[in-house]
Amino acid sequence: MLGWLLQRVAQALLVIVAMSLVVFLGMHAIGNPADILLAPDATQADRAELIAQLGLDRPLWQQYLSFAGSALQGDLGRSFVYNVPAVTLILQRLPATLELAIAATAFSVIFGVPLGLYAGLYPERRLSKLITTGSILGFSLPTFWVGLLLIMTFSVYFGWLPASGRGETVHLLGADWSFLTLNGWRHMLLPAINLSLFKVSLVIRLTRAGVREVLPLDYVRFARAKGLRRGRIVMMHVLRNIMIPLVTVLGLELGSTIAFAVVTESIFAWPGSGKLILDSINALDRPVVMAYLLVVVTLFVVINLVVDILYRILDPRVREEASA
């Protein structure tokens, strides 16, 4: 277990280092930041001085090391547009994204598990076939298009829910949150549904497949033979066994949900980190783009690592497999 853990942590670190190298080299390849920072009427001497000041005349590997060194201290440069540290900017916007991603994950469980359970328990019924077909659609529909349909239906046609912004927020633990006010929830409902679409489909499929797999097993038949009520069998014996893969997949999906929030945030003008990165790409605000990519990749790798470890702890079978 310890050997596996060390190997897994090393692997995670390697991904982060590789990503930082790609980001650094990429940024280096697309041009000299001095050209952006200098005034158009600057002389050649000014330029040379700035380049020396920024350390751009040093060998590339030295530049990378100093970049990595300050990155480890949480310094990824200042935003050209907002003139504040890029990391600060990302961290300010991250809670809005996290809130949305977690709400979307919660929705996927609330809607996905019951629907998947139904489709798994009664596979022959018409409603089950409808659910299964719907989940296939949920996989293949482009998220942004569904978001537009949601706005068209619920904001424009019926006028029930707002189409943009976060609404009222409450300041708590150093960040603003929408989920604590009714108005905030009204704003969050559509984006969260939009972001959860893919995951609802995923949960439906996983739950359905899990139920189909577990139902014919001996322990379920034994429970039935003991005369337990059907509801109890489903809750205690079937659902509990499906929970492990479900929690694992949802945990792993959280990272990509945060990344894919870019699309949803852009449609619903949700002021999270995804909206920020799009604005920054368009404004050529490189430090923010770099900071976003590194922060999100790190977040992603850490989440995956934690889920992986939890999975081993929760499921003894995997543990044995690894030590064998």
């Binding site: 537009l148 424009v156 990749v297 992603f300």
Partner: protein
């Protein structure tokens, strides 16, 4: 196996095609796909208007609802017009052309690259294999949108850059399948026979191993085309993909987005519907392909 035994002497491709056509949904998907492809290929001939010819479009016709006649009276805008007075039906045909080209082009390039790398990995084993497969793992584990954001932030928007990004994201899927399949084929007798004949490596890989790996790769190709079209549309919608001069369906949808809030739904809706039909058609065909070609799905 419940299906009829394969008649001896008939070519496997013909048998597969017959089985493919037995599912009505697949036939519908195929017909829809053919219709869309024809529309995209003959966009210039079918479209009542060249949507990028500034002389042909009239700003006075901007944002007309579906079914209106133009001010000059010579065109009926069956799907309405956009913010610049372009006939949406024409713009959709041209957009479809861009979307399909990007989707098919990137899937093809990624297929060639991925299959080659997968075969090389399977053939050489050892460190080359490990390197290629770790790279595959890395690409498949990162969220595609994150990789795309990185690439397009570095490269800037443009059709070529989008294709490059999609190839980078997709080759891994082909490589993994090609490698797995080739490892199985390596153990077959024909492989030993080909080696015994002293054929050069490239010839064994391309003429003997590759054809036997093709069925599952075809399935992947179909699904990757759908994925590529979706991702391209998403990126273009976000303003990172197709340039304004060559709008794909995603960009058309984005252009109509601002008018949607004032109730002019058609500018976004019809390009979106076309995108949807394309993706659904490809998925229907891809799913059926899997059923027909994948021996594991026969059960």
């Amino acid at each position: 196996m419940t299906s009829a035994p394969v008649a001896s002497g008939r070519r496997p491709a013909v048998t597969a095609l017959r089985r493919f056509l037995r599912a009505p949904t697949a036939v519908i998907g195929l017909a829809l796909m053919a219709l869309l492809i024809l529309g995209a290929v003959f966009a210039r001939e079918i479209a009542p208007q060249n949507p990028f010819d500034l002389a042909a479009i009239d700003v006075l016709d901007a944002r007309l609802p579906p079914g209106s006649a133009s001010m000059s009276g010579d065109i009926t805008y069956w799907l309405g017009t956009d913010g610049q007075g372009r006939d949406l039906f024409s713009a959709i045909l041209y957009g479809l052309r861009t979307s399909l080209t990007v989707g098919v082009g990137s899937a093809l390039l990624a297929g060639i690259l991925g299959i080659l790398l997968g075969l090389i990995a399977a053939w050489s084993g050892g460190i080359v294999d490990a390197l290629i497969m770790r790279l595959v793992d890395l690409i498949m584990s990162l969220p595609s949108i994150l990789v795309a954001l990185l690439m397009l932030a570095l490269l800037g928007r443009g059709i070529g850059n989008v294709v490059l990004t999609l190839v980078l994201l997709e080759w891994a899927y082909y490589a993994r399948t090609a490698r797995a399949q080739a490892l199985v084929e390596r153990k077959r007798d024909y492989f030993e026979a080909a080696r015994g004949l002293g054929l050069p490596t490239y010839r064994i890989l391309l003429r003997h191993v590759l054809p036997n790996c093709l069925p599952p790769l075809l399935v992947i190709a179909a699904l990757q085309v759908a994925r590529a079209i979706t991702l391209e549309a998403t990126l273009s919608f976000l303003g990172l993909g197709a340039p304004v001069t060559q709008p794909s369906l995603g960009l058309l949808i984005a252009n109509g987005f601002q008018f949607m809030l004032s109730g002019e739904y058609w500018i976004s809706f019809f390009p979106g519907l076309t995108l949807l039909l394309a993706i659904v058609a490809i998925n229907l065909v891809g799913d059926r392909l899997r059923e027909v070609l994948d021996p594991r799905a026969l059960r």
